[in-house]
Amino acid sequence: EDQVTQSPEALRLQEGESSSLNCSYTVSGLRGLFWYRQDPGKGPEFLFTLYSAGEEKEKERLKATLTKKESFLHITAPKPEDSATYLCAVQGAGGTASKLTFGTGTRLQVTL
């Protein structure tokens, strides 16, 4: 069974204070690892898909990296508008390609 563990559960940063969120996973044959951002009361917004170890993707202040056991979402010089819950999910080859296994998320708060 695929499993995803995210840490920390909550993170409070000051504006400009860079940090990383962790997503550890166990999966039988990784089809893809996904990062989403979710604002309160809204649906998850797609950020990145990573397919293989060593892959990196960037978007504005966010950079996602992938190893064989974990993924990191690096946030450089965050702003208050980056405050949200960040969800990590995997698709494994063991089950149907349609199914995502989510972690419980990291709630990020960025203060002035």
């Binding site: 893809g32 996904f34 649906g43 998850p44 917004e45 969800l87 349609s98 995502l100 998320g105």
Partner: protein, 122 residues
């Protein structure tokens, strides 16, 4: 343009009511999903339609009835719900894996979510 549109955004219904949630996508995706999300929890998969056929039902109670009228539309019919069914209901779509046709895609299919429908059962 990655847009999944859900209506209504908010719905309050009594336990004896019948209502429906609607979802539409125009990305040409052939897989559509219903997820349920409770506060401070990750989304939980309910149903998956692939090429307009129900391919996954995650043991969802029969008071939830999905329908896929065509490749762009997905409905969730609600009847005799319980207060514990109150949640954010998320529709999503993706390119469809070709498992049913003997080909399994090696790359993951990115799943795009709508804004959700907040359901309150009173």
């Amino acid at each position: 343009d990655t847009e999944v549109t859900q209506t209504p955004k908010h719905l309050v219904m009594g336990m004896t009511n019948k209502k429906s949630l609607k979802c539409e996508q125009h990305m040409g995706h052939r897989a559509m999903y219903w997820y349920k999300q409770k506060a401070k929890k990750p989304p939980e998969l309910m149903f998956v339609y692939s090429y307009e056929k129900l391919s996954i039902n995650e043991s969802v109670p029969s008071r939830f009835s999905p329908e896929c009228p065509n490749s762009s539309l997905l409905n969730l019919h609600l009847h005799a719900l319980q207060p514990e069914d109150s949640a954010l209901y998320l529709c999503a779509s993706s390119q469809a894996p070709l498992e049913g046709q003997g080909v399994v895609l090696k790359s993951g299919n990115t799943i795009y979510f709508g804004e959700g429908s907040w359901l309150t059962v009173v």
